[in-house]
């Protein structure tokens, strides 16, 4: 069962048993969880006539006792406090409380204590505590996503909150799937280890009754890995539709904010929705590359023109009747066409202005092929190119540094200096910080495929065969990881098990959680892998959905904190 449907089922179950007019009250996190999978008109069908935030509910005192309040919030102490105030002075006729994660007994006690007027009808835990953007990809949308890079001593309480939230999210995913997994983690990452161990503690000790589901033949696998094992993927320019939109414009909970890109056609909405659930064109094109999308959009526009023409030709009453019948469909199509055309036009403008074709070719070469000398020259050329933007320069140098960390340090230094003189906006030492965080000594996986002979041979074979598309030749490290899992060759030394729960046989369901965030390139990789019917179903999750901007921002923030921390010490 895919994640999107399970969240939808939760919401359906929440709303269908309560008759009459309802108001749905959400908090700042559940609002994303709900609105990414459920629409306003569907809520209206369930007689939910008002959706409010938990903060604004307590701001007013007007009584609405003809409405029933359905709360769906995270069980945080702030939310419980707000609820307590609300229950002491109720505005609504009935209260149905749904929490998106495990409630503590003390919290239930506090709530029961404040419910003097006995307005609470039910208290339930519905584990939809994650944002399910695509069927096999979820995110936790965490704001302070840089924390995973810091050692535990710098900000112990912050890191505790961080890993608590991650454990909650992972637990909710498995509760929604009704499974208890065996847990493995990436040995080199402290944060991944910590999260894996805390998850295991929750599932096998603290709440072992709750997680005791019917045994399946083989237990599913939870693999906790660290973003820093593959720092390359979030640094690359993307050329498939969904990933490209996120990289160039920005995708938040399947919404694109078009205000950021300046000039807009007048009748265009300032925000558009890109959801594979609601938009058939997007669903069939989200993983296609840019060139193919152009062709497909042209086809769509042609179709649309045909329809528009037939609608212009109205002569008889029957034509009119037909027009009125088809009008809603027509209008929907019009909105969809203009949405995709706007997006693609804007993106091709950006590609042109930032010379992304040129940049991306070098990026892909750096990520996939060898040849240090040629790479050095290509990067130097691009650093000298005036139309290349600052962020692309920084990324090029980072990719070069990750790839040729140990070869020819003089040339690496020269690139650092050139970057510093060219793009003074970026702080000194960010590239060095990245190397310290995700350099070759820190990494577990064979990121560039140059560690063992087999991979080298495979790379050479690929080089001889030639590639279909230079811009999309990069395969994220996750692909290799998934392949090893499928073949049962994931090494116990690199990815140890937690506790004494070992894998028996091949798992059928695998949840890979990436501490530090996922990318849409990886989400695509997982979706394609699932469509091959290998018998294993993968689900990918992360603390955030990254594009290069977000990844660099997290990096800068971590650098700033660790620097000020070291000054203090």
């Amino acid at each position: 069962m895919a994640l999107v449907t399970s969240v939808r089922d939760y919401i359906n179950r929440m709303l269908q048993d309560i008759s009459g007019m309802k108001v749905l009250i959400l908090d700042s996190e559940t609002v994303s969880n709900v609105s990414i999978v459920y629409s306003q008109s569907e809520l209206l069908q369930k007689e939910v006539f008002l959706v409010e935030m938990i903060d604004s509910i307590s701001a007013s005192n007007e009584s609405m006792s003809h409405l029933k309040a359905v709360y769906f919030v995270r069980p945080t102490s702030e939310n419980v406090q707000k609820l307590r105030h609300q229950l002491a002075n109720p505005r609504f006729g009935e209260y149905h409380l749904f929490f998106s994660n495990l409630l503590k007994d003390t919290q239930i006690h506090i709530l029961a204590d404040s419910d003097e007027q006995e307005v609470v009808q039910q208290v339930q835990e519905f584990y939809a505590d994650f944002v399910a953007g695509d069927p096999y990809h979820f995110t936790l949308n965490m704001a302070a996503n840089h924390l995973y890079m810091l050692p535990a001593v710098v900000d112990p309480s912050g890191l505790q909150r961080y890993s608590d939230r991650v454990v909650d999210g992972i637990a909710a995913v498995f509760l929604a799937l009704k499974r208890r997994p065996v847990i493995r983690y990436q040995r080199t990452s402290d944060t991944a280890k910590r999260i894996a161990q805390e998850t295991a503690k929750l599932m096998y000790q603290q709440e072992s009754g709750l997680f005791d589901f019917r045994r399946t033949e083989s237990s599913p696998l939870l693999l906790v890995i660290d973003r820093r094992d593959d720092p390359v993927t979030p640094l690359l320019n993307q050329w498939t539709y969904q990933a490209m939109v996120h990289e160039l414009i920005g995708l938040q909970d399947n919404k694109v904010d078009l205000r950021a890109i300046g000039s807009l056609p007048k009748d265009q909405q300032v925000e558009v929705v890109l959801s594979s659930e609601q938009d058939a064109f997007f669903k069939s094109n989200m993983y296609e590359n840019f060139g193919d999308i152009g062709m497909n959009i042209k086809r769509m526009v042609d179709d649309f023109q045909q329809v528009a023409k037939s609608n212009q030709n109205i002569q008889t009453v029957e034509d009119m009747a037909r027009f009125v019948d088809n009008y809603p469909e027509y209008k929907k199509m019009q909105g969809n066409v203009s949405k995709h055309v706007t997006l693609v036009t804007e993106m091709s403008k950006l590609v042109e202005a930032r010379k992304l074709m040129l940049v991306s070719q070098t990026e892909q070469d750096l990520a996939c092929n060898g040849g240090q000398g040629a790479a050095y020259e290509a990067v130097t050329d691009l650093l000298n190119n005036e139309s290349v933007s600052d962020i692309d320069r920084l990324r090029l140098v980072m990719l070069y540094a990750l790839r040729y960390e140990k070869e020819n340090p003089v040339q690496l230094m020269q690139l650092f200096n050139k970057l510093a003189s060219r793009s003074p906006k970026y702080k000194q030492g960010l590239v060095q910080f990245l190397l310290k965080q995700a350099g070759v000594e820190k990494r577990t996986g064979d990121l560039f495929g140059n560690r063992d002979l087999l991979n080298i041979a495979r790379n050479m074979a690929r080089g001889l065969k030639g590639v279909e598309n230079v811009y999309t030749q990069h395969q994220p490290l996750l692909f290799q990881t998934m392949e090893s899992i499928t073949r049962g060759r994931l090494r116990d030394v690199d990815y140890p098990f937690v506790g004494d729960h070992f894998q028996q046989g091949r798992p059928q369901e695998v949840v890979i959680f990436m501490v530090g965030g996922t990318t849409y390139e990886e989400s695509r990789c997982v979706a394609l892998q699932n469509s091959t019917n290998s018998g294993i179903r993968f689900i990918l999750g992360g603390t955030a959905v990254l594009n290069s901007k977000r990844f660099l921002m997290d990096l800068e923030e971590a650098q700033r904190i660790s620097r000020s921390g070291s000054h203090m010490v």
Binding site: Y38, L50, S56, H66, E116, V273, D325
Partner: protein, 317 residues
């Protein structure tokens, strides 16, 4: 899809706390149970009263009126949804009647026709009435539940639109098939006409048979006139429905667009509320200052004019 129900534990805690609290709060009791009673009676008319609501009737009724009574628009919306429900059942009947009327039968089918007519009229009437009431729903003073009202209106509008669309489809298919039948009938008539005229020309003796034929022709003419009338009626009601559709389409949300996003709506509401507040404050300020200033300046100008007039009067006369 695991869930965990914590209601029992919650109730347990609540009951145990109530027994602790009971002696303390006896003095200020009355509020809690009254609200319970008020909401209970309004929302679940069938549910039995809780035994706690044996309070002094004087105070409790007062509390119930102020706290528990839903606003007027709730009645309107309930009425609309009842009407929609009724229209829906009538629609089902209409579908059956259509099918029956189109079936070849030995009777003249007048009853069926009559039934269809009345049913169509009823459904159209219900839809129009609901639509009018829907417009009424949005009227009324600006209050905090205006967004609730708007959403109720939207959802009812969506229902209505669906229903009227269905009705239109039903009618147009009925109309089409009726026409088809009529054409067939027309051919038959032509044949009859031709043969009858030939009969008249050829043979005047067989007048009895001819009369019989004449009566037949008359009858079929009558039928065709009636059918014409029916078609006319159906066309009229289609037009009416088209109007309703137009009015409703302004209210219905386009699915799959940003307007249909829950988070977008929340942000929008809060920002529009803030905007509205700002505008109101601004208006208040300008109203206050503008009115005063205008009034004063008019008075000053008037004074000045009068003074000039007075001086002129003194000088001239």
């Amino acid at each position: 899809m695991a869930t965990r129900n914590r209601t029992l534990l919650f109730r347990k805690y609540r009951n145990s706390l109530r027994s602790v609290r009971a002696p303390m709060t006896e003095s200020k009791s009355g509020v809690g149970p009254v609200i319970e009673m008020a909401s209970t009676s309004l929302l679940h008319p069938k549910r039995s009263y809780t035994p706690v609501s044996t309070e002094d009737p004087g105070t409790s009724s007062k509390g119930a009126v102020t706290v528990g009574l839903p606003p007027d628009w709730v009645d309107v919306s309930e009425e609309i949804s009842v009407n929609i429900q009724r229209a829906r059942t009538k629609m089902a009947e209409l579908g059956k009647a259509h099918a029956k009327a189109l079936m070849p039968s030995f009777g003249d089918g007048k009853e069926d026709q009559h039934q269809i007519e009345s049913l169509t009229q009823e459904v159209t009437f219900l839809l129009r009435k609901s639509e009018k009431q829907l417009q009424r729903l949005s009227k009324g003073g600006p209050s905090e539940d205006s967004s609730v009202r708007k959403n109720v209106q939207r959802s009812l509008a969506t229902d209505l639109q669906q229903l009227s669309m269905e009705l239109r489809k039903k009618q147009s298919t009925y109309l089409k098939r009726l026409r088809l039948q009529k054409e067939d009938g027309g051919d038959l008539e032509m044949n009859l006409n031709g043969s009858s005229s030939r009969a008249e020309d050829d043979d005047f003796d067989d007048i009895l048979f001819s009369e019989h034929q004449m009566s037949k022709i008359k009858k079929s003419e009558e039928i065709s006139v009636e059918r014409e009338k029916e078609i006319q009626q159906v066309v009229e009601s289609v037009n009416e429905l088209a109007q309703i559709m137009k009015d409703l389409s302004a209210l219905v949300i386009d699915q799959g667009t940003i307007v249909d996003r829950i988070d977008y709506n929340i942000q929008n509401v809060s920002s529009t509320v803030e905007d509205g507040l700002k505008q109101l404050q601004k208006a208040e300020r300008t109203q206050r200052s503008g009115g005063m200033v205008k009034c004063a300046s008019v008075l000053v100008i008037l004074c000045f004019i009068m003074l000039v007039l007075l001086i002129l009067k003194e000088i001239i006369f």
